[in-house]
């Protein structure tokens, strides 16, 4: 056996003896690690749940839907009805899905009974409609025809259900008469309301749309308004960022608390053993070897303590009726999945490492001041 193996073996034996003779120090370190592991897991689970929930809200279609409304007066109507509208393609860049509708300031009389709003589309075929007047409705069979009177114009409209998420949302439970811009242009000469519906790719895209909107208003003096959940989304994004910081702080904080408490205990143990360690150093064994032993011992206790705490928590969670306690969000996946165990084990290692700082400082003391 090498001398350093002998020394390592002796130090291990010495540690075991200490654990048996003075179990309080060892058990305290273990209990603190376990407790911090449990608290850390619950706090990380809470923060993760909050983050996931915010993420789900942010990703939902409702949150990212933006509507831009522009009232176009008669004198600007022809310019915006040009065959190619460059603005449309600009919105498409910001959107996953977009649709531009031109709402005519008139209504269609369907079967001389009910009034339905009229919108024009630049390319109805793009949205799955024929190049005809279409009544978008859910109450009549697809393909059936109705008579639609629009001002002096009488046409047969084909009944169709709404197509695409944006149009479905726009129509909601009502009805809508749709036709191409070309067909409905006579009705649009007196102005119209242009509505751009789009599903934004990201919060940044909505911010960009807002900027464009502000520019149109400020420079071109156009009557544009935008409807979005941007203020709420920005708040949610801020909360999500805070949640990430909290998660980081919880991990670091747990490790620091673990390190400080275990460090205090390790220092007390070191004070009791400093003569022995000094004697070993006087044989020519380096400080680093003794420090490595302390690091291994403390990290081992901290990590096994954390794992023990997590195992205890898993056992407790499996036995509790979390639904009855209104804690059903506290799932095993949330508690132990997503790298939580690794994060806490790393926290335990960091804590164990930190707890050896006082030992490292103590080992710097000259041998001559220790050995008598």
């Amino acid at each position: 056996m090498n001398w350093w193996t002998s020394i390592a073996f002796y130090l291990c034996r010495n540690s075991f003896r200490r654990w048996i003779e003075q179990p309080l120090g060892f058990l305290s370190k273990w209990a603190i690690s376990a407790l911090i592991g449990i608290l850390g897991a619950v706090m990380i689970a809470g923060a993760s749940f909050l983050g996931d929930e915010i993420g789900r809200q942010l990703a939902s279609r409702e949150a990212m839907t933006v509507t831009m409304l522009e009232v176009v007066p008669p004198k600007q109507a022809s310019a915006l009805l040009a065959p190619d509208d460059p603005e449309e393609s600009e919105w498409e860049k910001l959107a996953e899905d977009s649709m531009t509708l031109y709402q005519v300031p008139a209504v269609a009389k369907i079967d001389e009974i009910r009034d339905v709003s009229i919108v024009a589309m630049r390319e109805p075929e793009r949205y799955g409609f024929p190049d005809a007047i279409v009544l978008i409705t859910r109450s009549q069979p697809e393909g059936s025809t109705v008579v639609a009177r629009m001002d002096t114009l009488r046409v047969e409209a084909i009944a169709m259900p709404p197509k695409g998420a944006l149009l479905e949302k726009f129509v909601a439970t009502g009805e809508l008469v749709v036709g191409s811009v070309k067909r409905l242009s006579p009705l649009m000469q007196n102005g119209f309301t242009r509505q751009v519906l789009f599903q934004a790719k990201s919060i940044e895209a909505i911010e960009q749309a807002q900027k464009v909107n502000d520019t149109l208003q400020a420079i071109e003096h156009r009557r544009v308004s935008i409807r979005s959940m941007l203020p709420l989304l920005l708040k949610l994004r801020e909360i999500r960022n805070i949640q990430r910081y909290v998660l980081f702080a919880v991990t670091i904080g747990s490790a620091l608390v673990l390190g400080l408490i275990c460090g205090a205990l390790a220092w007390m143990e070191f004070r009791e053993e400093r003569y022995l360690l000094a004697l070993i150093r006087s044989f020519g064994v380096g400080r680093v070897a003794l420090l490595v032993h302390a690091v291994v011992e403390n990290c081992l206790i901290a990590v096994t303590g954390v794992l023990l705490g997590l195992a205890g928590l898993a056992a407790t969670v499996s036995q509790l009726n979390l639904r009855a306690m209104k804690l059903d969000w506290l799932t095993t996946q949330l508690l132990f999945g997503g790298g939580t165990v690794w994060v806490l084990v790393l926290g335990g290692l960091f804590g164990g490492l930190l707890s050896c700082v006082p030992v490292g400082i103590g080992l710097r003391k000259p041998l001559g001041l220790l050995l008598k």
């Binding site: 056996m1 090498n2 001398w3 002998s6 020394i7 002796y10 034996r13 010495n14 003896r17 003569y275 022995l276 004697l279 070993i280 150093r281 006087s282 044989f283 020519g284 064994v285 380096g286 000259p366 041998l367 001559g368 001041l369 050995l371 008598k372």
Partner: protein
């Protein structure tokens, strides 16, 4: 081989007066016995000679030895018997000796010989904790000698020991010093060790002169 101390001074942290000041001393191979009253700095000088303390002033020159206090020096060239806690309490007598020999890189048979000479061979498998004070001190000396150190420092090696233990220890030290050109420095009040000394340093007188 010799050790030369120039203007050596040391003050303990927090103390107001130095324990050693302006000490000049040359230590030759053989046994040097440091005598003087308690607290005059004998033990401090031993720690300075072993590099266990850094002198506050002055310097120690030992050109034939590795750097004082270095790991190489502590492992191979140096052995010291302290007044207290000399042995690894959990290990057996033999493990204490064996470990010391392995660290120093010397054959363990050497340790067996010294253990035998100091009359501790029958106790080789005993736990150190179960030994008497005199037996522990004999084991500590056996361990120190088994390294064949170039510098052997003994701090009150026989204090509180009976004549029997003292004579065994004296004989071992004498044998060690006769068989090598090592430097052996003993700090002791014990007059029973006086016959061992090649040189007897009255520490009190040196300090008075240096002041």
């Amino acid at each position: 081989m010799k050790i030369v101390c120039h203007e050596l001074g040391y003050i303990y942290p927090g103390a107001k007066t130095p324990v050693l000041s302006g000490l000049d001393l040359v230590i030759e191979p053989g046994v040097t016995l440091l005598k003087g009253y308690s607290g005059c700095g004998k033990s401090t000088l031993l720690r300075l000679l072993g590099g266990l303390l850094e002198p506050c002033t002055g310097r120690i020159e030992a050109p034939q030895l590795p750097l004082l206090g270095s790991r190489e020096f502590l492992r191979k060239a140096f052995a010291m018997v302290f007044q207290e806690l000399n042995l690894l309490p959990l290990a057996s007598v033999w493990r204490n000796i064996e470990l010391s020999c392995r660290i120093a890189g010397v054959p363990t048979e050497q340790g067996r010989e010294w253990l035998n000479l100091l009359g501790m061979e029958p106790f080789a498998d005993r736990k150190v904790e179960s030994l008497s004070g005199g037996q522990k001190q004999r084991v500590a000396i056996a361990r120190a000698l088994s390294k064949s150190p170039a510098l052997l420092l003994l701090d009150e090696p026989t204090s509180g020991l009976d004549d029997h233990n003292t004579s065994i220890i004296s004989a071992a030290i004498q044998r060690f010093s006769q068989g090598s050109d090592a430097i052996c420095v003993i700090a002791s009040h014990d007059h029973r060790l006086d016959p061992l000394a090649h040189e007897l340093v009255d520490f009190h007188r040196i300090l008075s002169l240096s002041e």
